[in-house]
Amino acid sequence: MVASPERVTLEKEPVKREQATEKYFPTFSKAGGAVKGAVVGAAATAGSSAVDAVKDPGFILFIVGLLTFIFNEYLNNTAIAVLIGTVFMFFSAFFIFKGKGMAVTVIFWVWYVFFGGVTDIEGIKYVIIPIVLVGMVVHGLTKSISKQGTFGEGAMGELLYGAIPIMVFFLDLGLLNWLAQEFNVTLSTSSQNILLFTPWWALLGLFTTQRENTFITIARMVGVVYIFSIVLLGVVPEAYGTYKSAIPTPEEFLAAKQEISEQLPARENPLISQIACIGDADYESCIQQRQEESELRSLCKKNEEVQKGVLTFDDCLTEEKKKKEEAKYLVGGVIDPTIKLPTKFKLEIDREFFPFKTYLEFSSPEYPITLKYENTRAPVKADLSCAFVKGSEELPGKITSGENITLPVGSGTEGITCVPEGTLKGKYELRVTAFFKDLETATHLTRFFVGEKDSQEVVEIQKAIEKTESRDLAYFSTSQFPADLARFNFGFGSPPKNPLIVGGKPVQLGMSILNSGEGKLWEIKSYGVILEGFNAPCLSKSNIKIPSDEQSNKQIIIPGCQIMDYPGELKNPEEYLKRTFEARMVYDYQLENKFAVEIVGKTG
């Protein structure tokens, strides 16, 4: 047992405080009032007090804890994390708490790290608690007999000062992350901040420093501001997880920490955002904008296309912003995150070489346009056309590079050249149109068939499903699709968004089409919901012409119907059955882009 023979002095040292007051806050007459002198003095004060603070064990823990926190991403190894945690735990127990809780800390360490933790709660009750009590009694008696304190001081110190390093040890390993995962807690932004940006050991060190000087005071103030800046709200648990007596191992803690960190996009430290936004007229919006932008930057840094140089960082940022905006207006269905390469087309120009202004003295007008494509499933036929518009006047153009092309599977670019069929003079709007034929998109939807069960059983099954899937059941309410130009959204159940199908009664089928591109959804060649063994009259249809005034609409509702019957195996399963269903849609889509051009010079 290692225990300090001297009395613990967590209280401040009065002599030093007086010295510090005299040293760092001299009388006004001495200060002289010169601004320059004050600044130099303050700097010198902070410098000398920093040197002074280095001798303080709390301050040492603060600095080293901060460094390990900063370089945390390189320390995702269990042995290193446990070793660092062990060093900090014993350092704080020994030097900061002067060995007051040493017995408890040692017993905990031997039990948890060396013996891997007894996972049986009864074992804790009958082994650990008695040992802790013995430790308290021994420490209390030692204090009392050696006349260095009372029995109570020694015994309670053992419990209190032993618990603090152990708690911080757990927090640093990832206790909160583990709890969030284990009890399926929905993390608010502030909770995410706590998980990502709390240097637990550094904070313990900072708030247990025994010396008082300007540097420590400033550091402590920064610490308080830091905590307030990241801790705004608590976690709201949707706890339904069952309690397990098993204490998680360090590997489980670290795995939870790593998993949650990977799930959350890296954001700017909220404190930095807050500092950077000081003085901004709209402080709240500024912080939100910085946080969002840092999230997008993080996403683009990890983007494979950016890493390969296929996409520029700025283009990636623009795309991610657009996706975020689009998501706000998405009425039904969600983009399947596992499909990284949807089918996409874009008509664009190279601003460096595009003749916005053509001098007829040099040459006749000729416009190069690029059709950028990401075609991931099957070759696509496209009809290209162009025209020059001035007011109500429209002059046709000719695509000299070929009006009918077939785009192969894969991503690439196709050069298009548009030449006016006639003489132009003045300012025009060049309209380039690509008409894609027979594009195909697919959607999937997951449903859980629970059979004939009473309401209590349904609730139990719902909990079991949510626990198994590690997510809320609402996640399955809508269909998922690739981020294609048009998307087919469907759902069935009672109502169609309910992912639980109870019993064998008829359920409703709802469908809609989403136009998520910037063009016109010209025609639905066909759609079909693949529900084998299901009896419903509206599962498929073909050749649906969309009225021209509705082609740009973002959502088109398709009349649904009732599913009267479905396969027997799904009607009454013993447990529950998870099934994924697909739908396919073939459609024509028109994409158009406009560019301002000018033709100057002699005519004829």
Binding site: F95, F114, Y126, I339, S470, E575, Y576
Partner: protein
């Protein structure tokens, strides 16, 4: 002053030595189990049947349209035999993974004893087949539950003092312990507390508190026998509805209280054995996942 600095130096040295020793334990001993104590009393503590998948069965990643195996190891670490065991795979989406059979029976599995100190272990094989990914998706993670149910027993025995002479302060007989605590009887379900109440009308009442401390759930708990020495005890579970010797346990409330009574034949004080035999149905759920990749 010099003494104080010397003391600090000694403290620092002790700290460094302790730290060094602990660091070497962490680095050298991470994950390594120490030698196990050989204990011949298997009917103690909380022990249970464990379920786990073998390494690489199922594999960490499964490719589309391929066969794979899932091998579940069922290891009886409890001190009692297990019967009527069933292991089920629940929650896999047949659109992505097809597993056959979806459930398998196992048992009987012998519990730990002197004759079988390791307990019985059995491996259950499930054949899996993966389907194609949706469109050009990168991956699909199929979460599922390994659900197991089995029947087992648990015995409790302890020496109790029967002393009806409540008012005889000079009684030379044994002393009644009003309450006793227990850490387990080598099963997930355990008698955790025993209370003894001797009434003046020469009757004794035992209040036996049971708790599920395992990783699963007890669905039904039945008392098979209850004896005080050679005498049968009259027992009933609190909250039992029809059959007073059997209790259906709530999923959240995994505790039970049993009240046993008998009339005493003599006024003498003596020590005798209280023995109880229980049987129970146990359910275990474990979450796993299969990863289908391109």
């Amino acid at each position: 002053m010099i003494e104080k600095s010397q003391k600090k130096r000694v403290q620092k040295k002790i700290f460094c030595l302790v730290l060094l020793a602990m660091a070497s334990f962490v680095l050298a001993g991470c994950g390594a189990g120490g030698p196990q104590d050989i204990s011949y009393n298997f009917k103690q503590g909380i022990k249970e049947v464990t379920f786990s998948f073998l390494e690489n069965a199922p594999p960490k990643q499964v490719y589309p349209s391929s066969n794979f195996k899932m091998i579940a190891a069922v290891d009886n670490q409890a001190a009692y035999d297990v019967t009527n065991g069933v292991v089920k795979i629940v929650g896999l989406d047949a659109r992505y993974f097809y597993v056959t059979p979806e459930e398998q029976e196992f048992g009987p599995l012998l519990g730990k004893s002197i004759l079988s100190p390791a307990g019985d272990k059995v491996f259950l094989e499930f054949d899996g087949f993966s389907q194609a990914l949706f469109e050009n998706a990168e991956e699909y993670v199929g979460n599922f539950l390994l659900k197991a149910t089995y029947h087992s027993t648990m015995d409790f025995a302890d020496t109790v003092c029967i002393n009806p002479t409540l008012y005889d302060v000079y009684s030379a007989g044994c002393k009644v312990q009003a309450s006793k605590a227990y850490s387990g009887q080598g099963a997930p379900v355990a008698v955790t507390k025993l209370e003894e109440v001797v009434s003046p009308d020469a009757a004794v009442e035992f209040r036996i508190f049971l708790r599920n401390s395992g990783r699963g759930k007890v669905s039904t708990l039945t008392l098979n026998n209850a004896r005080l020495g050679g005498k049968e005890l009259e027992c009933e579970f609190q909250r039992a509805v029809e059959n007073k010797k059997s209790l259906i346990l709530n999923q959240k409330m995994q505790e039970a209280a049993l009240i046993c009574k008998t009339l005493l034949d003599s006024q003498n004080s003596y020590e005798t054995t209280l023995s109880l035999g229980f049987s129970y149905k146990y359910e275990v759920e474990q979450r796993h996942s299969l990863r289908l990749v391109k």
